[in-house]
Amino acid sequence: MNLLMASIAMIAVSGLPGAVLDKRRLGGQFLATLFSAAGSICGLYAVGRWLAAGGQSDLRIPWTLVPGADFHVGLDGLSAAFLLPIFLISMLGSIYGQGYWRQSEHAENGRKLRLFYGLCAAGMASLVVARNSVVFLFGWEVMALGAFMLVATEDDQPSVAEAGWLYLVATHAATLTLFGLFGALWAICGTFDLPADGSKLAPAAANTVFVLALLGFGFKAGIMPLHVWLPSAHANAPSHVSALMSGVLIKMGVYGFLRVSSFLPEPPLWWGGLLLALGVVSGVIGLAFAVAQQDFKRLLAYSSIENIGIIFIATGLALLGRATHRADWVLLGMGGAVWHVWNHALFKALLFYCAGSVIHAVETREINLLGGLGKRMPWTAFCFVVGATAVCGLPPLNGFVSEFLIYVGLFGTLGIPDAGATLPAAALAAPGLALIGALAVACYATAMAGIFLGAPRSSRVEHAHEARWTMLAPMFALAGGCVFVGLAPGVVAPAIDPAIAAWTSAAPGGSELAAALIPLAERAPLGWLSALGLSLVAMLALGGVVLAARLRPRFVSSSVTWGCGYVAPTARMQYTSTSFSEILTGLFRWALGPRVNRPKIDELFPQSASFASSVPDSVLERVIRPGLNWIAERILWFRVFQQGNVRAYLFYMFAALVLLLIWPH
């Protein structure tokens, strides 16, 4: 535990030396990465040692700051499961930042970026080990404000500043809800401890706590319709920050939700059902938005919403398992959820790094301006293919393993393999998950094509260059991770078992259910998945060798792409990302509300015409912004109090104090 706290502290101060060093030299940047990497390796070692040895790991320091709240941190299966991606991704991101956000190229904001990068990562690590809601909220706010500063790194650009403000508003809406949540827990259970004693919660109180947790943590996780801040924040932050946010930070919402839901007593069926429904909606609509995006980082951001949906489907299954006392569903649901958290950290960070390399090379995020980058950035393109295959949940990579567990669990609600409690309605989430998977294939195939394949659509691509090795190394590490987890899931499974056990046993009377859990590796046919994954790799290698032999230069003559007889095609004639998404955007028109400006042609010889279409976030633009404007108009009279006069504010404070004094005790 001490090693863990030391490593968190090391990460927290990693940007500090650089902040006082010369802003044009690279020294501060190296020191930041060194500290961050050293801290992360210590942290990974500490967590790994705990996973191998187990045992009690606690640190409690009496703390007079808040009555009844000690500084209490500890490590259990759930904390360990979320610490691993935090350390791994923050370390890789800091290495990636060496090349991507070089101090000499970003003298103005590089130091700020590194300072808050470390703080944000340390905030996340400390909220995950917090055993006390005050410590938890402290870590939460450090993370949230750190992330705000990170999103607003380039705040001289209007779009970045706006994304930052939107994020700040959303994150504080979440924090406010969490204050309500922990206040309610304190009022009922009488302690700030985490996990609290759930047996004191009456069903009505438990429902309130559940809804508050879903709202507060759902905001951070970006579940639909609480996702409004996520696309612009992910798109406008520097890419390694987007990777940290998408891969790890939004998972803190998942962690918080899992932590709080773990100790709620006797979950009713509707909790799990609600999560399944929210998960499927997030997944399907999130992908529909993703397909329609023309900014590839927004596309990745919407795809994060989809993956959060998958994680919530799995969590819903686990909650249903607890409601019906089916250890099997809990095992597969929680196993799928935690595993998907890891997988998403691996492949989404990889995809954001690829996006960063592309931005570094061409300085635009518009897919419609790219194309043909695969020839100029072969390694980035290769990593993108790996990441895209993984994010679509395709075998033999890691995404398939977690989706496989969730499928087995969802089909299990039909009473498979053994009869007993069945819940066929829950199994209807399985076709939803299948739709999500197929839409993901459509989304990423067209994104891949728009960015890397075909011919360049603009001159930006002509002088693109491959990413620096400091950027490629973390990408290769993550791609290797995706392949390894996909081919050897049996090695990874034992590290997830403690998280499932911790989540199950924290509930009142949960130890009975926890005792019925079996190791994940015994339940799921992970050996078969490895065997077939390896045979697929072998078949691909064999087929590749055969085809390569038949495609030696002397058997091949090259030509232009077949254009139905037209021999002078230009790059502008290619399908663009907008054209790719046209059918799907049309099918989901009811949810997306695309804005299309097309000329109305009513003369015989129309002269010039232009066409434009965009898909703004419909929840933000159609519900939240008008709603907030409505409220703002209603409370205009409040401005009377905002004088900007210090004496007036002093008077308000005095009046408030007097009120508190005469408040009847």
């Binding site: 072969p378 089909f411 066929p424 691909l540 087929g543 590749g544 399908y575």
Partner: protein, 301 residues
């Protein structure tokens, strides 16, 4: 022995299926038609040819056919043919089956888009959208099968023990059967979804995706697409065939005959129907989803 028969079936039957479909269509049109084994001759000749490859393409274009073929071949090891178990079967292999096909689709799509051709872009968009709509229908059907057989393995869902279910839950099974047959036509680009014989690139789906592939790569694609047709046919045949003789060879023979009959039936459909307008395709696919979803509701509890 069973495994050998299975592998032999995967090797030989798929291309014959194509031949049967073409022969049936020719018979309806009053033509003699190409020989039954013409698809074999095509594949063999293509495999020996040199290639013409677009300058725009890179390694992705070359990887597509390999992945496409490897995934359907691996998937074919999971599908039961006749009343025997498939060579590989484990609890959950049904998910691997579907996702292997999706992997092949993903790589065929990006391989095709590597050429930068607008025609291929159109085809890929259609193919990916239509398969996305077909996927839930397939899974609704698997839900019905899984809950009838209490198993997550294709071999147990559709293999040895299938048959008695027709007496208890025929309504569900009929709905799934119709739904899966629609999916069979959609996933294999047959009429009414796509016309394999069309000559206008603008209206193609599958054919336009492979427009730029030639020589051995095209042979791989042709063979892979035929194996995929066999796999979807096998799902239908497994549901319909109640026959179990106990002899592996006889069963395999029965399976082959039934599959050929199904292929002839596809030929009949292709000869007697016109293809749908593109905007109507999603409607038919959603209908397939709804049908198999009703199948779940009608399950006896």
């Amino acid at each position: 022995m069973e495994t050998a028969i299975h592998l032999l079936t995967v090797l030989l039957l798929p291309l014959v299926l194509r031949g049967v479909i073409n022969k049936t269509k020719a018979a309806f049109a009053g033509r003699v038609g190409p020989p039954l084994l013409q698809p074999f001759y095509d594949v063999i000749r293509l495999a020996q040819k040199d290639s013409v490859i677009s300058e725009t393409t890179g390694w992705v274009f070359r990887a597509g056919p390999v992945v496409g073929l490897a995934t359907v071949l691996l998937a074919s090891l999971l599908a039961p043919f006749g009343r025997e178990s498939a060579p590989v079967s484990f609890s959950g292999d049904v998910f691997l089956f579907v996702y292997l096909l999706a992997l092949g689709r993903f790589f065929m799509a990006i391989a095709s888009l590597d050429t930068g051709s607008a025609f291929e872009g159109m085809g890929v968009t259609r193919e990916l959208t239509f398969s996305a709509l077909a996927e839930p229908a397939l899974f609704f059907g698997f839900l019905v099968m899984a809950s009838l057989s209490r198993s997550l393995s294709l071999s147990e869902m559709l293999g040895e023990s299938f048959g008695p279910q027709w007496q208890t839950s025929s309504a569900s099974l009929v709905l799934v059967l119709v739904s899966w047959f629609i999916i069979l036509l959609a996933e294999n680009s047959r009429i009414p979804f796509d016309d394999p014989n069309t000559h206008l690139e603008l209206t193609m789906i599958h054919e336009v995706i492979v427009l730029d592939h030639s020589g051995p790569a095209l042979a791989m694609i042709l063979y892979g697409a035929s194996v995929k047709l066999l796999l979807f046919c096998s799902l239908i045949v497994q549901m319909l065939s109640p026959f179990d003789s106990g002899y592996a060879l006889v069963d395999a023979g029965v399976f082959v005959v039934e599959t050929l009959v199904l292929a002839a039936f596809i030929g009949v459909i292709e000869s007697t129907m016109a293809r749908l307008r593109m905007p109507d395709v999603p409607r038919l696919l959603v209908t397939a989803c709804v049908l198999s979803a009703f199948g779940i509701i009608l399950l006896p509890h």
